[in-house]
């Protein structure tokens, strides 16, 4: 039984961690090398794409999506999609997709450039080559160099609040169990040896 309990809680916490890792904003320091748009036919990976842009028809099966190509500080490529999140999940309320594409295009800096232009790309989501999914860029910001220090205040606050919430629920559940459930079980199993 104890293994069932471990597997259950293990799976639960892995899912919670995956949820936060996907949803919370992360900052990549990168060089943007190109921006483009391409048509995407959504298939089994469709939950990893946003809905149609705010105001557009929601009934289409495919549409053009903006992409931002970048190289991170370790010289490995990372491709971001650039889509509205609109009024849906996750709650970034991003509507300025086209503006962001313009800003990203303005900050292009190739390897051959004498002075590389580094940027911080705020994004959420995952890159997975096997499923063709891309993180969604939220904003870009020019920085002086590749070694800027970024402190993720928002993530610290959200995760701290979440930990406090879990701790509160756990403490109350333990108290409830000790005061209400254990006495009943004790009554029932009285004399079982």
């Amino acid at each position: 039984m104890v293994y069932v309990k471990w597997v259950f809680w293990g799976t639960f916490w892995v899912l919670v961690a995956a949820f936060f890792h996907y949803t919370l904003p992360q900052h990549d320091i990168a060089r943007i090398t190109d921006t483009y748009e391409k048509r995407v036919d959504f298939g089994e990976n469709s939950i990893f794409w946003s809905h149609a842009a705010a105001g557009d028809s929601a009934a289409t099966v495919n549409r053009d999506v903006f992409f931002i190509q970048a190289f991170r500080t370790d010289d490995r490529p990372m491709i971001y999609r650039n889509e509205d999140t609109g009024w849906g999940w996750p709650p970034y309320f991003k509507f300025d997709t086209s503006n962001l594409q313009a800003e990203a295009a303005d900050l292009i800096s190739k390897k051959s450039a004498t002075n590389a232009q580094w940027v911080v790309i705020k994004h959420y989501g995952w890159r997975n080559e096997f499923m063709s999914i891309f993180p969604n860029a939220i904003s870009v910001r020019a920085v002086d160099g590749p070694d800027v220090r970024i402190i993720p205040w928002l993530n610290i606050v959200i995760l701290t609040l979440f930990a406090a919430l879990c701790w509160g629920i756990r403490a109350r559940w333990k108290k409830f169990r000790r005061n209400r459930i254990d006495p009943l079980v004790d009554d029932y199993t009285d004399g079982w040896g």
Binding site: G88, P91, F93, D96
Partner: protein, 88 residues
């Protein structure tokens, strides 16, 4: 605009559930405190009348109106996020 409407309707329903639950809880805490106060005051008069008078006072209090923050805080957070994401 349909997505906005959906968010508003479901958001309102969700927050209303929290609002109602919190109101009932707060009221029950208040009436328990009033009963305790009645004991501590040396049982002045009828207990139910004492509690009813105290709850009537509570109904008009600022403390009770603070529960409206359940609606105000999420809307303020949402407006802030919209501003920071799109216009900053």
């Amino acid at each position: 605009m349909l997505a906005l409407l959906r968010l508003m309707v479901f958001g309102f329903l969700f927050l209303s559930v929290i609002y109602v639950a919190l109101s009932l809880y707060s009221r029950s805490v208040r009436s328990a405190k009033l009963r305790q106060q009645w004991e501590d005051d040396g049982r002045p008069g009828e207990r139910d009348a004492f509690v009813a008078a105290g709850l009537k006072e509570y109904d008009g209090s600022v403390r009770r109106k603070l529960i409206l923050l359940v609606y105000i805080v999420p809307i303020a957070v949402m407006s802030t996020i919209i501003y920071l994401t799109n216009f900053n």
